[in-house]
């Protein structure tokens, strides 16, 4: 009661409220396209060049929120994002099946690699199949660091453990709960094995002293998809803007940008575009 009285009496407080809630000319929502994507897309720098190209004609402003695939999906499930760019195929299928999104289009891939210390205590080097490599690591009781953050990379890792018929979670299994770079740093310090996406590995290669011990298995392919968040389900979604970005990414100019990306900086192409552009 007394508190209420004070609130009424307080001109500075009212002023502050006015100030906070009144400022900032907010952009007209129809110009904003909100993309939920994964950190691996942002951390390689690919997102920035695509954003710049997309915004060039001034029609749309892209709000790209780079989070783990799990959280990106969650932003889709609450209608917070207009479009998703994610890499977690099973979850994506379920997402669409449950009616949260439409037009799921797998258009891009890169690959994961299994890294380990140069000494390779589990003798993984030369193993082609990812599941076999994981089996060897587990059998040797060698340390393995997991992102453990519900990201696409984490999901992929769990899938491989599944295929290897090993249940991780003993003392040799370290759950980092961090992004790729943070998890790589832990693996380096612990001389542990780790599953990483190739682009992040390449960008950090000089600092981490871990080597590729297994690569090239089909199971290590990392597929990215675009999903439009369902405007039927979430009326606030900017469907037109989302479609514009969708069409832009699946266009020829975008394809060229993506295929060129990384060559100059890392000496090799990072992402492979496999959608048939018109």
């Amino acid at each position: 009661m007394c508190l209420m009285k004070s609130l009424k009496l307080s001109p500075p407080l009212a002023l502050a409220a006015l100030f906070i809630f009144g400022c900032q000319g907010k952009p007209a929502p129809q110009h904003i396209v909100r993309l939920a994507t994964t950190t691996s897309v942002q951390d390689t720098g690919l997102l920035d060049i695509l954003t710049d190209a997309f915004q060039k004609d001034g029609k749309y402003t892209l709000q790209a929120i780079a989070v783990g695939s799990g959280q990106a999906m969650q932003l889709g499930k609450t209608g917070e994002a207009d479009i998703l760019w994610v890499h977690s195929p099973d979850d994506e299928a379920q997402f669409v099946a449950e009616g949260y999104g439409t037009d799921r289009t797998t258009f891009l891939y890169n690959d994961f690699v299994i890294l380990g210390p140069a000494a390779d205590p589990a003798k993984v080097k030369g193993t082609r199949k990812a599941a076999d490599a994981f089996n060897k690591i587990a059998a040797a009781g060698a340390l393995f660091v997991s992102r453990a953050d519900n990201s696409g990379t984490h999901k992929k890792e769990l899938k491989i453990w599944d295929a290897a018929k090993v249940k991780p979670g003993k003392e040799f299994y370290i759950e980092a709960g961090q992004g790729m770079a943070g998890t790589l740093s832990i693996a380096k310090e612990k001389s542990a094995y780790i599953l990483a996406d190739r682009s992040t590995y390449l960008s950090m290669k000089k600092n981490i002293g871990l080597e590729i011990v297994s690569e090239g298995d089909a199971a290590l392919i990392n597929r990215y998809s675009l999903i439009l968040v369902s405007p039927a389900r979430f009326p606030k979604v900017n469907a037109a803007g989302a479609k514009a970005f969708f069409d832009f990414v699946l266009s020829k100019p975008a394809k060229e940008m993506i295929e060129k990306y990384g060559v100059a900086k890392y000496g090799r192409q990072l992402f492979f575009f496999d959608y048939a552009v018109k």
């Binding site: 508190l3 100030f19 900032q24 954003t51 960008s203």
Partner: protein, 233 residues
């Protein structure tokens, strides 16, 4: 070690090459934190002063609550603000999620208890008889609070410095509410986190150094104002 030296070099390079993106990020950092601090001062100082000088039931409980608020983890504040501002949230119609306004609100919520609690203790340091004397001079409650605040302006400025320091270095809330969107809501702290995650440690250190430099400049300015008010003894 080499990262730190590289970081220094990079920081100097970024500052002196006039990198527009870095300047934009720094400007946003300063604007958001300064505005949030200003709002928290405008609301927290009068509220804290009022709590200090008035008698009312459950006053001690309220003070304990405010003091607890000082320890509010920024990510919790950020999460709550995000849930409120989300399209599906009660304030979704404002379209403030992933905007500087949203970040200012989150930082305001973090700074408000700090400024309020420090104002309470500063005001409680004023002799209650002094406050009564000012009332008898013909002051309304708020006029009397203003006169008392003038007496303790040094302590209040210290509260402002503490609040700004906390905000400008804060990362959890602005990351969640702002989303670290390039050219829109990327702040020095969130950019530092991102660069660290990308393994660009030299860039991260450069950003950290720029943050420290800015923070130092603001604190120096505030401290100069504060110390100017100190009476020659």
């Amino acid at each position: 070690m080499s990262f730190i030296i590289q970081g220094f070099q990079k920081a100097l390079h970024l500052i002196f090459s006039g990198n527009a993106e870095i300047f934009g990020i720094a400007r946003l950092s300063l604007t958001v934190s300064l505005l949030a601090t200003a709002a928290a001062v405008l609301a927290g100082v009068p509220l804290g002063s009022w709590i200090a000088v008035k008698r009312f039931p459950l006053k001690k409980l309220l003070i304990a609550l405010v003091n607890t608020g000082m320890g509010l983890p920024p990510v919790v504040a950020g999460l709550v603000v995000m849930l409120f501002l989300a399209r599906s949230g009660p304030l979704g119609f404002l379209n403030w999620l992933y905007t500087p306004t949203g970040m200012i609100i989150a930082q305001f919520i973090i700074a408000m208890p700090i400024i309020t609690a420090l104002s309470i203790s500063a005001m409680q340091g004023v002799d209650p008889r002094f406050y009564q004397q000012v009332l008898t001079l013909g002051a309304s409650d708020w006029q009397a609070i203003k006169v008392c605040l003038k007496e303790i302006r040094l302590t209040v400025l210290a509260a402002v410095i503490a609040g700004f320091g906390r905000l400008v270095a804060e990362v959890g809330a602005v990351m969640i509410v702002g989303g670290n969107i390039r050219h829109q809501t990327r702040m020095l702290t969130t950019a530092t986190v991102m660069e660290t995650n990308m393994g660009n440690f030299d860039m991260a250190i450069a950003l950290g150094l720029i943050l420290l430099t800015l923070s130092f400049a603001v604190n120096l300015a505030l401290t100069l104002i504060q110390q100017k008010k100190v009476l020659p003894r």
